[in-house]
Structure formats: C-alpha cells, structure tokens
C-alpha cells in the first residue's frame, strides 16, 4: 500500500469519525436537562418567557430539523452565539486558542526528542543503573496527576526558590515573558514524556535483540547506527501512536494547567462555559477538540507508515 493510498483511506475514515463526533456532541447536548431558553431566561424563569424564547430560537422544531440546521451552520463556520456574552462562539474560541496553542505546541515540540533521548538512553543497557533510574523515575512521575505536580512545582520553584513566576496573572503576551511558560509546559510534559519514553525503550530493547540488528552488528555497523537508523524506525510505531494520544491528552491537561497557572486559554474558556451552561461554546469546543484529535491521528499513522511500512495495516 502506498503512502497516498494509506492517507486517502485514513482521511476517509477520519471524515466518518468527525461526522460521528459532531453527531454525538449534538445528541449529548440534547440530552442535557434545560436548554438555551432556560439559561437566557436566567434567575427569573417565567414559563411564558421561556416558551417565547424557545419559539424565537427554533428550539421547538423537530430534532431532525435542528440537527440538519446544526450541520448547515457548522459547514458555514458558524458555531452559534454565546448565550452569556452574546459574541459568536468562533470569536470566543479564537481568543482562547492562542495561549493554548502556544502551551500545547511548545510541549509537543519538546516531547518527541526528549522522549526519544530518554528511551534510547534507557535501552542502551537494559537492566543497568541508568535504565532502572530512568524507568523507575518515569513510572513514579507518570503516577502523579498534573494538578498535584503543578502545585509541587509552584511551591518549589516559585515560592521556595523564587526562580519562576507562580502564574500568568496580568501577563498579556505570554511570548514577551517566556518565563511564565516554563512551569506550565513542565507540568504538561511530565506524563506524556514518561509514557512515550517507556514505549521507545521497550520497542528498542526488542529491536536491538532482533536478527537484523545482530546481523548488522556482524556486518560491522556501529551500535549507534543500528540504534538510530534501523532499530528505532522499525520499532517506533507504538511510540508515535502514543505521541498522538498525548496530543489528545494535552487538550484535556491544558484545562487543569490553565486553571492552576491562570492562563486565559481554551481550557479556561471551557470551564467558564460549563459553569455558566453556555451550551453553544461547549459544543464548539467539543467539535474543535474532536477535529484536532482526528487530524493528529491521521498524521501519526502517516508518520508510522513512513518509518516502517511493514508494521502498518489498515
């Protein structure tokens, strides 16, 4: 199977997945008690006013009709209007996107190289002190939830040592003051780093004992070449898939991290929207997260295929 063909099939599958996500988001919102009319009516729920609002918002239309309308609006890029601020949902998302993209992006850039280096270092001599140290420390860190590690890191680096700012309160441009990014990125990085590096190590340990690695050693290739040019690409597919999963996780992890470090990103937007029952914003975010997840996984499949075509099947 060629790369183009794999991509075509994966993208077709991705389209189906996006369709499913959008549908599920719509149905879940339907299942919520109350609706937009109730929220807008606010603290004084007058049944008559709620009925008027329902008619005005088209909420009395049959389910199918509203579903089709929801799709029509989505395809035009119209995610609806926030019930709380009255601004278009798309604008609300755009405002929160920049800080989140920055956090997730920096974390994502650091993750693959760091995880690969840790994994390769641990796999060099399986069972050695270095291996055991990396493996046990990463397992330990992996079991610490991010809100706990965030508080630990703040109390150590911000309060005790006063090296880094404790939060981004009052910082308008995160890039202008990169030091505020260090702790949030570290918190986001810890858990995916541990899981990905463990997969890199496991794959590499197996691959280095394989017949081809031994044969290349016999031929005279250096251990370094065998590791980086042969064993790593061949065994790397699970780690690549784990990186893709880490991106999904980053979107969720961002919520806690943004809350702890007071960064006005998508996570904050989501928490606020849920708190105020701003349904269109929640819907918009769910669709956006779903879309990102699907795209990231298609890219991960393409990368896995490029590394080792024999390991990828559809």
């Amino acid at each position: 199977m060629s790369l183009t063909r794999l991509l075509a099939r994966r993208m077709a599958l991705g389209a189906v997945q996006v369709f499913g996500v959008v549908t599920i988001v719509f149905l879940l919102t339907e299942a919520l008690p109350g609706d937009a009319a109730v929220v807008i009516a606010g603290d004084a729920p007058d049944p008559e006013r709620i009925a008027q609002l329902r008619a005005a918002l088209g909420l009395d239309d049959p389910l199918g009709q509203r579903y089709i309308r929801w799709w029509g609006e989505l395809l035009r890029g119209d995610l609806g209007t926030s019930l709380v601020s009255g601004r278009p949902v798309a604008d609300t998302l755009r405002a929160g996107l920049a800080p989140t993209a920055l956090l997730a992006g920096v974390t994502f850039l650091l993750l693959p190289p760091l995880a690969t280096m840790l994994g390769v270092a641990a796999a060099r001599r399986p069972g050695s002190v270095v291996d055991r140290l990396i493996s046990s420390v990463s397992l330990g860190f992996y079991s610490v939830p991010e809100f706990a590690s965030a508080i630990l890191l703040i109390s150590l680096f911000a309060l005790q040592l006063s090296l880094l700012p404790a939060n981004a309160l009052g910082v308008s441009d995160l890039l202008a003051q990169p030091s505020v990014l260090v702790l949030p990125v570290a918190v986001l990085l810890i858990r995916p780093l541990c899981s990905v590096s463990r997969l890199v190590r496991a794959g590499l340990v197996d691959a280095r004992q394989s017949d081809y690695a031994r044969h290349l050693g016999r031929i005279g290739l250096s251990e370094r070449r065998i590791t980086w040019a042969h064993a790593l690409p061949t065994s790397g597919a699970p780690a690549v898939q784990q990186v893709a999963r880490a991106v999904d996780w980053l979107l969720g992890g961002v919520i806690v991290v943004e809350a702890v470090f007071v960064i006005p990103g998508l996570g904050t937007t989501l928490v606020d929207a849920v708190g105020t029952r701003d349904v269109p914003v929640v819907q918009g975010l769910a669709v956006f997260f779903g879309l990102v997840t699907v795209v990231v996984n298609v890219v991960a499949d393409a990368v896995s295929y490029r590394m080792n075509p024999a390991a990828v099947t559809l």
Binding site: N308, P309, A310
Partner: protein, 488 residues
C-alpha cells in the same frame, strides 16, 4: 585463512558442537553437513566470533570477522523491515568503505538480485528474493571468506544452479567458502572438504566420502540425499468427492499491475496430492495463502467439501478452518517465542475441534514421535530448537487438527535428507489415508513423490496452457501432468 582447532561449544552441560577442527584456505570450500540440530549454524557463527549466550567455549578460532560475509539461514529476518533493500545495501557499502553505487551494483549482480527489487521493502520480497538480497549484503566489499548457511533453501532450481555457479566462481576468485548445508547435491558439487556432523560431533571428515563413506550414518545420509527417490505415487483414482474446488481465482497485490494469479482453477479430491512449483515470485505462496484464507483474492470462488466458503479466514467457521491447515515456509516465525512449543502445537485442535486436552496430549506424543520429535523437544521454546525441529513441530500442529487439506509451503527445505524422507513418508501415509495435500516445493525429489498432479506457475505474463487437462477442468493457467515429469 580461517582456522578452527578443537572447538567445543557447551551450553548447560550439553555439547552443542565439537570437538571440531577444519581449515579453509583461499579458494577452498569446506562443507558442514548433518541433520538439523547437528551444530552447523553454531560452528558457522563461531567463525564470525559469535557464540550462544551463556555458552562455555574451548578451542581456537582464527578468523577476521570483518573480512567474512555471512549469509544466515533465515534471510527474511535479517533485513531491517523499515528500510528499502537498496538503501540498506548502500549503507553497508559505506560502512565497509566501499562507497558508490558500483560496489552495490556488483554485489547485486553476483547475488542474482533483480535491481528493480532494490526499491522494495523486505516484506515485499518473496523468500527467495530475500535470500538473494542477504547474499548481496554479504558480498559487498569482496570478503575473503563467505559463511553460507543453507543457501539453496527455498530457491527455485534455476537460481539454485546460478547460485552454485556463483559460489564456484567466487571460489575460483580466491574466496574461501564455509558451506553449511543439507543439500548434498550442492555439497558434492562444491565441497573440497566435507565434515559430517551429528548431534554436534564430527562423524566423518574427508575429501572423498562420497564414493567411500566409512561410517554407516554417512552412508545413510548419502543414500537419503542422493540416492534414487522412491517411485512416485500412483495417482489416486478420481473420486466424486472433491474436498476443495477453486474457480477462477484471481489474486495479486495492490490495485495496479497484473495479478499474480490469473483465473486459476483447482480441484482437489480426497487422498490426492497437488504439487505447486515455479520460480520465485510466480505466486506459489499467494495461491496457498488464498486457499488458507490469509490473502484476499480479487475474485474467484472457493468450495470446501462442496459448500461455497468465504475466502477470508475470519469469515470461516471453526470447522472450516480446521479443514484447511497450513505449514509455513518460515517455521520460526510461526511460533510464539515465549511459550513452550508443545502448548502451541495442541492449541488449534483444542480451539477448532473442541477436543479435550488429555485426548490431544496422547495423540500428540504419537504424531510427534512419527517425525522424530521427543517430549523433551516439545517442552522447549523457539530459541532452543533448530529450524528443522520447528518445521516438524509446525507439521505436527497442522496434522493434529485432522485437516482435509494440508498446505505445505517449502517445508522440506529446512530439513536434512534423512528427516526429509521421514516427513515425506508421513505425508504420504496421510494422503493414502484420505487427506488432500498441496505441496509447494522447488525440490525435484519432492515433486517426483507427489506428482499426481503438478501445477507449474510461471511469472505473470507467461502462462502455460494445459497439456493434458482432466475433463472436469477448463483450460487455464494450469499445467497438468498425469505422470510424474521425466517418468514418461
């Protein structure tokens, strides 16, 4: 020059090989022959300076591994799966200080590897093509010595001759060759000095043991390997109960290009054997994989015992899966490396036929004994068994499920002459007992024994019409021989 003096390799108080001594001078071929498990590969690796982990080694090995090309027995596993063959060859050329395409091109030509295949990944090559790629890898940098482990395994006769001729020309060019093989015809043609190994010990060594073997074991080996094969089976009388029928099977890889198999028709009766042969890449394994449901064909219809059956193995019922069993060319890859062989061997019959473990265990000892596998073998893991022992275990696994159709893909190539005859005898008894056999082979000896019907596949584009076609079968890409070839 390679020198081995009184080499003994012991593992867990068991002598794997030795004491063994030989010397390979430039332009000489030293052959090590013997059953699977006799210590040939251990000796070959010792020359490369490699020993099983935990082995205690005594004796002297004089060699420079950097100047030796090694061609292992299982070529499929030593090519990096994630690298194109050409890129791998160029990288090795660089490492060996032979940069440039010229040294790669020469090695590729000497190994008879089609340069068009350099763009492919190892999993896109047939077993024979993979071995030629590994051969090319070994020839890069013009080594002083080649250690070649079972080079003719899985090769079609045309390439086998070419390979023998190439080994001869290498020898004339001054390369020493250490040949580990049970292909006695090849050994007799090439070897200057021959060592006969059995259970690690040297039974006999000499330059002229073909004409005057001193030891009974050597005689037995030569008799089985080079003597006249038993007369071919007489074709079973056609019965009215076909166990397997295939109509217009068309199969290939990818959408582009010609199909490998183009409208092949097959009819297998109870107690009959079909031999499939043809050059590497002609679609022998593809045909077998389609029958077993492991490859989805583009078109065609399959009937098992008269019922139309889906191609895909996942869509077949347990009973239908038990009916068609497959023994693979690479037996090592067909077992889980972490569990004892015995537990894996009884798995299919327990799963597919629902037999009780106790009943199967009793049957297992019997069937395993028929191919010379002891309970001790069955308790071991993959890494503790030789290629031939694994091949026999795979056969036992298939036979235990009492299949109607048994597909054997080059299963004799990993076996020494004595064991091969034992296995073929067993297969013949099974066929006489009513099983239908599909046997893929390059070996003329095997063809002669199971030549009720011979299907000769040609490379796509060259299709032979039938010479004699049974009336029930339309003309197709099938060559039918009622008489064994050469036995007119």
């Amino acid at each position: 020059m390679i020198g081995v003096e009184d080499l003994t390799v012991r593992l867990d108080d068991r002598t794997v090989v030795g004491p063994i001594s030989f010397a390979a001078r430039p332009g000489e071929v030293i052959a090590l022959v013997g059953e699977s498990g006799s210590g040939k590969t251990t000796t070959g690796l010792a020359v490369m300076g490699e020993f099983p982990s935990g082995a205690s080694v005594a004796g002297v090995v004089r060699s420079d591994p950097r100047r030796i090309g090694y061609v292992p027995q299982h070529p499929g596993t030593v090519l990096t799966p994630s690298r194109r063959v050409g890129s791998l060859l160029r990288e090795v050329a660089r490492v060996r200080g032979r940069a440039g395409t010229e040294s790669v091109a020469r090695a590729v030509a000497r190994a008879h590897l089609d340069p068009a295949l350099l763009r492919r990944f190892p999993h896109q090559l047939s077993g024979g093509q993979q071995q030629r790629a590994v051969f090319a890898l070994a020839l890069i940098g013009d080594p002083d010595c080649l250690v070649v482990d079972e080079p003719t395994t899985g090769q079609d006769p045309g390439h086998r001759d070419a390979l023998a001729a190439e080994l001869e020309s290498l020898r004339e060019g001054g390369t020493a060759i250490i040949l580990l093989s049970h292909d006695l015809a090849l050994v007799r043609r090439l070897a200057d000095d021959t060592l006969v190994l059995r259970l690690g010990a040297v039974v006999e060594q000499g330059r002229d043991l073909w004409a005057h073997p001193r030891e009974p074991y050597t005689r037995q080996l030569i008799e089985a390997g080079l003597g006249e094969p038993p007369a071919g089976r007489t074709a079973a009388a056609p019965t009215s109960s076909p166990v397997l029928r295939v109509d217009r099977l068309t199969a290939g890889y990818g959408r582009r290009g010609d199909p490998v198999l183009d409208e092949v028709d097959l009819l297998l009766e109870r107690g009959s054997a079909l031999t499939v042969r043809g050059p590497s890449g002609a679609g022998k394994s593809t045909l077998a994989r389609c029958l077993a449901g492991l490859h989805q064909p583009h078109g065609g219809e399959l009937r098992l015992a008269g019922r139309v059956t889906p191609w895909a193995v996942r869509a077949r019922t347990s009973a239908d899966r038990a009916l068609v069993q497959y023994v693979f060319q690479d037996a090592r890859a067909a077992f889980d490396p972490f569990r004892p062989i015995g537990a894996q061997v009884i798995r299919p019959v327990v799963n597919l036929r629902g037999d009780g473990r106790a009943a199967v265990a009793a049957k297992l000892a019997d069937v395993a004994g028929q191919v010379g596998l002891e309970p001790d073998h069955l308790a071991r893991r993959v890494s503790q068994l030789s290629g031939g022992e694994l091949q026999r275990a795979a056969l036992v696994r298939a036979l235990l499920t009492r299949p109607d159709v048994l597909i054997c893909d080059e299963i004799t190539t990993g076996l020494d002459a004595v064991t091969r005859e034992v296995v073929l005898d067993l297969l013949e008894r099974m066929v006489d007992g009513g099983m239908a056999l599909v046997i893929i082979t390059h070996e003329n000896r095997v063809v002669r024994r199971f030549a009720d019907r011979v299907l000769s596949l040609e490379l796509p584009g060259l299709v032979y019409a039938a010479a004699q076609t049974p009336s029930s079968l339309p003309l197709g890409s099938v060559k039918w021989n009622r008489r064994p070839p050469g036995n007119s």
